[in-house]
Symmetry: C2
Subunit: 254 residues, 2 copies
């Protein structure tokens, strides 16, 4: 495989850098952060700006991400086949369970949320489509770890971050848990990322049984759990939704 295009990789790195830091960044900050000559960084930024991927605050001269990225991100969702077919099933699942529903796919070292149905009550909630969740401490993530070798590979050998006292932080425990998940066909995560929140997830696969994503419900531990375990009726709902979506994907080939 021939090498990647240098200027493009650098442009991508700049975009990621801008996405990471919360505030706007100046030209010098960008060039030193990536070890580029100022002129080089400027040329890339100028082009990105022209294309709408980056915007420059005319007052301070600093750079931030541009609107075109939002538009393209939306287009990504429009084309996304898994998401399109899962929309109606996710809605049903939210109504049946009374809890928040997430749909996620593996992306880099985490789970990218591609669909989010609010819990059907009137509390204020913020849409989390486009955000990432960790692999080793969420129901979505653990499902993918258990079934997708690529996901397991992404974990690498680094020690895992502990978000709460219940987070699994060593790889052996995670692998053991994955075995259990494969055996019974679903995953849960009770207060492993956020205190007070429990979630139940199941795998979505395409017509060739490849793992393509996961669906989960997530809610207050008092509602989702009972006597210290997740409620079997909720598990059944999640698994049946996952099967329905998988079936939909399998049938959907022309």
């Amino acid at each position: 495989m021939p090498g990647p295009i240098q200027s493009l990789s650098r442009a991508a790195a700049i975009l990621r850098l801008l996405a990471g830091g919360e505030r706007r960044l100046g030209l010098s900050e960008v060039s030193t952060a990536l070890g580029l000559a100022k002129g080089t960084a400027h040329g890339i930024l100028r082009t990105l700006q022209q294309e709408g991927f980056v915007e420059q605050d005319p007052e301070s001269g600093k750079y931030q991400l541009g609107a075109e990225l939002l538009r393209l991100g939306q287009s990504y969702l429009d084309v996304h086949e898994l998401r399109a077919r899962a929309l109606v099933w996710a809605d049903d699942l939210a109504r049946a369970s009374g809890e928040t529903v997430y749909l996620g796919v593996l992306h880099q070292r985490g789970v990218l949320i591609v669909h989010h149905v609010f819990r059907p009550d009137d509390t204020r909630q913020v849409l989390e489509v486009g955000s990432m969740q960790p692999l080793h401490s969420t129901a979505l993530g653990k499902v993918l770890l258990a079934y997708d070798p690529v996901a397991r590979g992404e974990l690498g050998e680094e020690p895992l971050e502990a978000y709460t006292s219940r987070t699994l932080t060593d790889l052996a425990s995670v692998d053991e848990e994955c075995g259990l998940i494969r055996e019974r066909g679903w995953a849960d995560a009770v207060e492993e990322t956020w205190e007070g929140v429990a979630s139940i997830g199941a795998l979505i696969q395409d017509r060739r049984r490849n793992p393509v994503g996961a669906v989960c419900i997530s809610g207050a531990v008092e509602r989702v759990c009972e006597d210290g375990f997740v409620r079997p009726s909720l598990v059944a709902s999640v698994r049946s939704a996952a099967r329905a979506i998988s079936r939909d994907l399998g049938a959907g080939r022309f």
Copy 2:
């Protein structure tokens, strides 16, 4: 100004091409559509894929947009100052008016929706953040046309598309309407883009009185209009929300 970076511009063109066509595109389709050699297009696509901006269907070998774009698009929203400050005001406006609220900024030849508050009832609605609306036939767009010379410039000299029988299609009428909008300080669009839908919009400006965006409410013409005109009470609500957001932006400089 030195020239833009060729490979980057081409990569951007490829992304836009993939975003435009609804279905996945093959390598040859991409290269012929943009007039590139197949090898060149392949190199760019390979790099974009590596960076997560493009994904390849392993079965057909065709390309589509990648998940990284969704993540970056979300980051764009996170950093967006106008949006952050407008969130609470938009919520209030939706509650007070009982209608859908949109917040938009100028982007290329249209208005990009950066925030969307559902009408406060239980009907099913789809989030339109990240989508585009035309400049010459929506309240948001006409506000920007009236106050932002850049927006007016984007219209160019092309004939305007008619979405309904009430769409203003010649530039003279649009300019005349813009004069009216500047005089009274708000814009409306009654069934100019979608049959049965009316909207009312007002300008948002920063501390130096530059136009930075617009806010509008949008709803069924039967509710928004009365005796053929938009209801004055709704106009007042929209204008006061726009003023509040503008004030917030002005005060918010450290």
